[in-house]
């Protein structure tokens, strides 16, 4: 058999084939659907793997710069859509896919994975309300776990500055997407728990696709949130985005800005509250004093009404009254007596024996002035005094005429 055609070295033929590949428009920009197997993450940062389907296998490599942009962690068995170019690795005479970007084939699978993990962790009790810690009212130190260049940190710091500048902030910069994001976030949570420098932790990022947010749906992140002694607020994406972190965290904030609003009170509100408390304290002490004042007045009234002087005065008035009554009575009595006396006097006057004299009677007295009532009291020659109206006469008894009856 003759050696036909041209003779080429191995290197030459591989180089030639490579040039053929690179002239082809189809395979220099292609997306290939397949399942990852033989996945290897090299220390250099490059990823090596195979893509396979039911019938065939294709080698693939993803260089560090592209690998770093991946929003999820590659694992064997994952169904992916890998975009890049197919070319030849001359040294091995192997053609392979040089992957520039990759996304999960069928986001539906992500939702399935999400629901599966959610159910599992829920059953394990990672979402239990009883495990939720209470956020401190006025955190002095706030730990934030997010990207130092993202929108989330900007939003959080803006709100914090505006609301409550009393809180200091420590930012633990992490990747919030890509294969290393989840382990990065776990590291941050563990760091803060070890250092115990902060009162509350916010973990989160701005909005993005489900793949972008995927780190917050990873089991290791969920578990480290659960284990954390420091209360954690999860603030991932927009209001409509729910992640596993949201369920495990002590509080879910719909957005990073909202997280800031949740963890610190408003300066203005606090000032208002302080004002109210101040007013209330003044009101309380005023009321307290007024109450006692009222009591004092009441007691004073009581004491006054019980003053013995009052009793004495009362008695005095009573006494005065009595005297008045008595005087009244006495006056009347005296008047009555006077009248009686007058009557009596007139009666007595009528009975005066001297009055009898004017009617012709006379009174006989002995020389001692004794009124003589019987003839037996006289003897002859006795000196007697005869009293008549207008005077008296001294007489001598000349004769006694006794009546014999």
């Amino acid at each position: 058999m003759a050696f036909g055609g041209i003779t080429l070295s191995v290197s030459q033929v591989n180089l030639y084939i490579k040039s053929l590949f690179e002239r082809d428009k189809t395979i220099t920009s292609v997306t290939i659907k397949g399942e990852i197997s033989n996945f290897k993450s090299h220390t250099s940062g490059h990823f090596y793997m195979s893509l396979k389907d039911d019938g065939a296998v294709l080698r693939a490599v993803m260089f560090k710069t592209s690998a770093a942009k991946l929003s999820f962690k590659l694992e064997n068995g994952m169904k992916v859509l890998a975009s890049g170019r197919i070319s030849v690795y001359e040294r091995d005479g192997q053609y392979q896919l040089y992957v520039e970007s990759m996304r999960l084939d069928g986001v539906g699978d992500l939702y399935v994975a999400f629901e599966k993990l959610k159910k599992k962790l829920n059953q394990e009790g990672l979402f239990d309300l009883s495990h939720k810690r209470v956020l401190p009212k006025y955190p002095k130190m706030i730990g934030i776990v997010t990207s130092p260049t993202g929108a989330a940190i900007r939003d959080i710091l803006n709100v914090l500055k505006r609301r409550f500048s009393y809180s200091n902030v420590i930012l633990y910069p992490v990747l919030v997407q890509g294969g290393n994001a989840s382990s990065n976030i776990v590291e941050a949570i563990e760091y803060f728990n070890k250092e115990k420098t902060v009162d509350v932790l916010v973990i989160g990022r701005g909005g993005g696709s489900i793949e972008d947010l995927w780190a917050f749906n990873e089991e290791n992140v969920a578990r480290s949130i659960y284990k954390s002694k420091i209360p954690i607020v999860s603030a991932v994406g927009h209001e409509i985005d729910f992640t596993i972190s949201d369920f495990v965290a002590d509080v879910r904030a719909p957005t990073p800005s909202a997280a800031a609003e949740i963890i610190v009170p408003s300066h203005i509100e606090l000032k208002k509250q302080l004002n109210t408390i101040y007013g209330h304290a003044i009101y309380c002490i005023k009321k307290f004093i007024e109450k006692r004042q009222d009591k004092l007045i009441l007691m004073l009234k009581n004491i006054v009404s019980r003053n013995p002087i009052n009793k004495i005065n009362e008695k005095r008035i009573y006494l005065d009254n009595l005297v008045k009554i008595m005087l009244n009575f006495m006056t009347k009595f005296l008047e009555k007596i006077k009248k009686c006396m007058q009557v009596a006097q007139s009666k007595i006057c009528a009975m005066n024996p001297l009055n009898v004299l004017s009617r012709g009677y006379s009174i006989v007295k002995n020389n001692e002035g004794v009124i003589l009532k019987s003839i037996d009291q006289l003897k002859i020659d006795d000196e007697i005094c005869l009293v008549l109206e207008g005077g008296s006469a001294v007489c001598y008894v000349h004769e006694i005429l006794q009546e014999n009856n």
Binding site: V169, L171, K271, Y278, H280, C284
Partner: protein, 85 residues
């Protein structure tokens, strides 16, 4: 909570939460009003001081924002002022 009304020691706290908690407890006692007049006046005075303190803490607060930096060689982490990009 230490609420010894004659004791002014816990007035020196620089912790806003502690001061606020104390203030709230003082006002609760004032509200109840079952202390002696002297205690009430002391409580009131304490409340006024705590209010002032809280206000001052709020007014004088200056937020500090640090970012943690990792030394690539030693792996040690230290704080630096955070400058937004």
């Amino acid at each position: 909570m230490n609420l010894d009304i004659s004791d002014g020691k816990n007035l020196v706290s620089e912790n806003f939460e502690e001061n606020m908690d104390n203030l709230e407890a003082v006002v609760k006692k004032l509200e109840k009003g079952d202390e002696s007049l002297e205690s009430m006046l002391l409580l009131f005075e304490k409340g006024m001081k705590l209010t002032k303190k809280c206000n001052r803490l709020l007014d004088n607060a200056e937020q500090k924002i640090n970012i943690l930096m990792k030394n690539e060689e030693s792996g040690e982490i230290h704080e630096e002022d955070f400058v937004e990009e």
